[in-house]
Each structure stands twice: as C-alpha cells, then as structure tokens.
C-alpha cells in the first residue's frame, strides 16, 4: 500500500525531505518507522516519538491503511 509521510525537525534533516510517498508492507506506524530508520538513518529512538495519522495523534502500534498520511513527532520543545 501507499503511505505519505511528513517529516519535521531532525527527521526532516535526516530524511533530507519534508515529505515522501512510499510503497510499504509495514502494517503499523512503528513498523513504518523501523523501515524508514533503515532507509534514512534516523537517530531518534522510536520510544521517544509520537505519531499522527491523518491529522490525529495515534499510538505507535496503530494500523496503517492505504492512502494514510503519517506524521512523526520528535520530542517537542515549543515555548
């Protein structure tokens, strides 16, 4: 299935892009992040991330469906 991924902050820099569309067999958000870590050399441990699917926060074991838009949320530091 095809998933769109949005990157921010350190993930954006390490992936060298803001977003990408990707064919994947990953069935959960966590599996997708593991695959992307292989591809892009991400250094943020999955345990330190949050994720959103289609603009709503989800758990890392949330399932993926074809066409989903996934945003990975590195540790936040606003304010």
């Amino acid at each position: 299935m095809k998933i769109t991924i949005h990157y921010f902050a350190m993930l954006r820099e390490q992936a060298r892009r803001d977003e990408e569309s990707r064919e994947t067999n990953a069935t959960t958000v966590a599996e997708l992040y593991a695959e992307l870590t292989q591809a892009h050399g991400f250094t943020i441990p999955a345990g330190n991330l949050r994720a959103a699917v289609n603009d709503a926060f989800v758990k890392m074991d949330a399932p993926l469906r074809d066409g989903d838009v996934v945003t990975f949320i590195p540790p936040v530091a606003g304010g």
Partner: protein, 135 residues
Amino acid sequence: MFELSERPLDGVKLRATLTEPAAGALVIFEGWVRNENEGRPVTGLFYEAEPKLCASEMEKIAGEAKAKFGVLGVRVAHRVGQLAIGEMAVWVGVTAGHRDAAFAGCRYVIDELKKRLPVWKKEHYADQTTRWVGM
C-alpha cells in the same frame, strides 16, 4: 484562539482579542529568546511546527484550562522560523474574573503547550554549532 506566525508576534493585537467586561484579570506569558541555555552562549533559535496538530492540540489545552480554572479567554501565538536574541517566541494571554484563575490558567496553558504542542526548536550557539533541543 491560536496562531503560528513567521513574523514577529504582535502583543497589542493579541491582547485586544481578550477584552471583555466580565474580566478583572489578564495574565500574559511571553517566552523570549535568551542569550544562553544551560551555560552555553546562544546566538539564535529556529522554530518549526506542525500547523494542524498544533491547532487541534491548543484547542484541547484551552478547553482544559477553561474547565479546570474557569478562565474566560485564552489566546496563544507561537513564532516559527529563525529568531534572534530578545525576540518573542510565544505569547499566552488568559483572562478571568479574578487573578487566581488567570495566573493558574496561564501557567497551565504554557506548561501543557511546552509538553504537548508539535513545535521543535534548534539552538544556534556562539561556536557555530546547532542542536535540536530534546532530541
């Protein structure tokens, strides 16, 4: 109620949105870029945010502040992009009938914002290095 801005935040305009006859207290928090962090000289900050998740999460936080403290108005703005020392990174204004609620509500909003809002910060140091804070 919430905005992300690539330009300097305008405290006067933000405050003007909070006036109402039942409000007796306004507490404002402003976060400024300071010239050092944890002992390291800082020359500037870069902020980045995810707009949709920021907006929905701020709506939740504002609702929580109203429910917990009975505050009347909540208004928040966060700057994004490259900021110099002294620039305002965040503005939080909370009104209430009396000061107890306004202080508690403002403190709650900035604390939750810092924990939950999808905003990221890269510090630029005097020695030319940079660091994504918290990563």
